[in-house]
């Protein structure tokens, strides 16, 4: 073990942090307004796939935007079902996840090899060369986004409206706020960010898309939301912690000495997620109307 391999670990962790933090911050915005979207996993997966298609067609920026677009589209459907049609949010989210599993596996077969598709080099987002090695520019986006979200939620009128809608939709409605529209916008924004995170996976980090690319990251992001207690700044920290353990698993597997079978190493991020979440729950308070469709009396 030497200095450069520890630097490697830190660099992978920073990359692994990006999808978790971005997705978690998007979900924090959505949950603040009262919609609980467990379809994030599916949005990440479809974002990674559609991002690859976009990157092949028009380069990395188009790829990332394609991810944002498809994330918005899916969460728009989710929000219409959950907010306007008073649907069960959990079930809609499960539907999104199932749909994504099939859609991406299906699309990959259609593109050629089942289960795997590489993003061509010219379609990948160039990494910045820094003293720490090659870093994706989106790392800086992920570092800044939580602060912007924090300012938005606590220092702007729109942020307060979001909180009002999540805490007490009746009162917000009386005050002339369109509850359903607010929830639709917040959740669509959350989907856009999750779609960006998905496209980041394929276009800006790994350079390929597989049918199990998201590998529970969407649910780890949900765990991050729980950990953060809807505070975007803590989501940044949580994203780094969970990203670190994901990377640690990858990193241990590259070590020359293989003392533990890889299957146990791969369990690590999920076990840590369980431990962290069971350590923090109880002191976290969520919006009162979270997960409950708003119906006028």
């Amino acid at each position: 073990m030497n200095w450069s391999s520890i630097l490697d670990l830190l660099r992978i962790s920073l990359h692994a942090m990006v999808p978790i933090t971005l997705t978690a911050v998007g979900e924090i915005i959505g949950e603040t307004a009262g919609l609980f979207n467990i379809g994030l996993e599916g949005i990440l997966l479809i974002g990674a796939f559609v991002g690859t298609l976009g990157a092949k067609a028009g380069g990395p920026i188009v790829g990332l935007l394609a991810g944002v677009g498809v994330g918005m589209a899916i969460s728009f459907v989710f929000a219409v079902i959950s907010a306007y049609w008073k649907g069960t949010q959990m079930i809609a989210g499960i539907g999104i996840n199932l749909f994504a599993l099939g859609f991406v596996a299906f699309g990959l077969i259609k593109l050629g090899a089942p289960g795997f598709h590489a993003v061509p080099p010219e379609g990948q987002l160039a990494k910045l060369s820094t003293p720490m090695g090659a870093l994706s520019p989106l790392i800086f986006v992920a570092l800044v986004t939580p602060f912007l979200a924090h300012l938005f939620l606590n220092r702007t009128r729109a942020g307060l409206i979001l909180k009002a809608v999540g805490e007490n939709p009746e009162a917000a409605d009386v005050a002339g706020i369109d509850v359903n529209l607010t929830r639709l916008l917040a959740t669509t924004f959350g989907g856009a960010v999750a779609g960006l995170a998905g496209a980041f996976l394929s276009v800006a980090w790994i350079g390929s898309v597989t049918k199990e690319m998201s590998a529970g990251t969407g649910f780890i992001a949900l765990a991050t939301v729980v950990f953060s207690g809807l505070n975007p700044l803590l989501a940044l920290l949580g994203g780094f912690i969970f990203g670190f353990f994901q990377s640690l698993a990858t990193w241990i597997k590259t070590l020359p000495t293989k003392t533990i079978p890889w299957q146990f190493v791969d369990m690590l991020p999920y076990i840590v997620t369980l431990l962290v979440v069971s350590g923090v729950v109880g002191r976290v308070r969520f919006p009162k109307a979270l997960g409950v469709p708003y119906k006028r009396e």
Partner: protein, 380 residues
Amino acid sequence: MTGTGARPGDRLLRGVHRTLTGLHPAVESVLAAILGLLVGAVLMYIWGYDPWRAYWALLKGAFGGDYEIASSIARGVPLILTGLTFSICLRAGMFNIGAEGQMYVGAAASICVAYFSLPHPWHLVVGILFAAAAGVLWSLGPALLKLTRGVSEVISTIMFNWISRFLVFYLVAYVLVDPRQAQRTVRIPLSARFPILVPGTDLSAAVYLAVGFALFVYVLLWHTAVGYEVRAAGLNPTAARYGGISIKRTMVLSFALGGVAAGLAGAATTMGLPPTYAIISGLPELMNLGFDGMAVAMVGRNHPIGILFAALFFGGLNAGGRVMQFYGANPVPLEMVRVVMGAIVLAMAIPELARVLPAVAGAARGLVRTLSPKARKEAA
């Protein structure tokens, strides 16, 4: 609703609506299934397939003859059980997404019967018990985390799914591995296999186990005091607690019962689905059965009897999909089936689908009217 001044047309619409709400549960499931199949058709069309030919192949492959029907039922057997896992917990007010992982460990536990011998029915029974016990053990993790630490079961069950997946990967690769066939585990011996019911097909006596367990869950939930408590806790936990029901007890009970069902689903696959009678590395025969079970539970309206019909439908989709993927010059991959499932679940999330759909039709009509040149001229 406007009271007295309603036009005759409105009254007719209300009458139709009342009929639809009377049939409610079944009609909504059928509507959702149709909607899901339509989404699948649109996607197939976009990707350059012929949806009608594909669905025709699927239908023939699913219900075109005795052999096809038998394989549809066989594919539906594990789905009945994983569907039950989800709906038992939903009836108790929890979203248990852990059927997938509990099924993996159940399947791995059932493989253990290969290491000792017993006479025929008992060997099979022991395997079933192993699988059920493993499923329960695995389901207690999320249940206890929820009970003691308040961890949301949505997150914990998913994490347990991933952990069990890697655990079973490990067991398949190192512990249960067949020394002569490194890509799979040892095989279930003849004395511990479910007898095949229809020779030449995949349909084994595991179907009795699945249907029997569904009936057991039905009787337990709707005709016993314990089941009443579970459902009461699901409908309104505050009221149930006020009425003297221990929420903790119903929670653990429903999780454990769900674990049994998921474990049995694993056993039904390893011990009751020819031709492998083993777990192949990468778990291709098991993968996603737990998630598909959620679609089955939803379309079956979370009722054991509804789940039987829904499992037959989804088993048919799976069996037919296997035919569809080899049919014609441009065959549609099996993965299409899961796309359709996802769309169906999404549609099932919409409450009172029968009510929303006319609204969609109305909105579309309004849109066409405003966009048509004639309307624009009139507006001008």
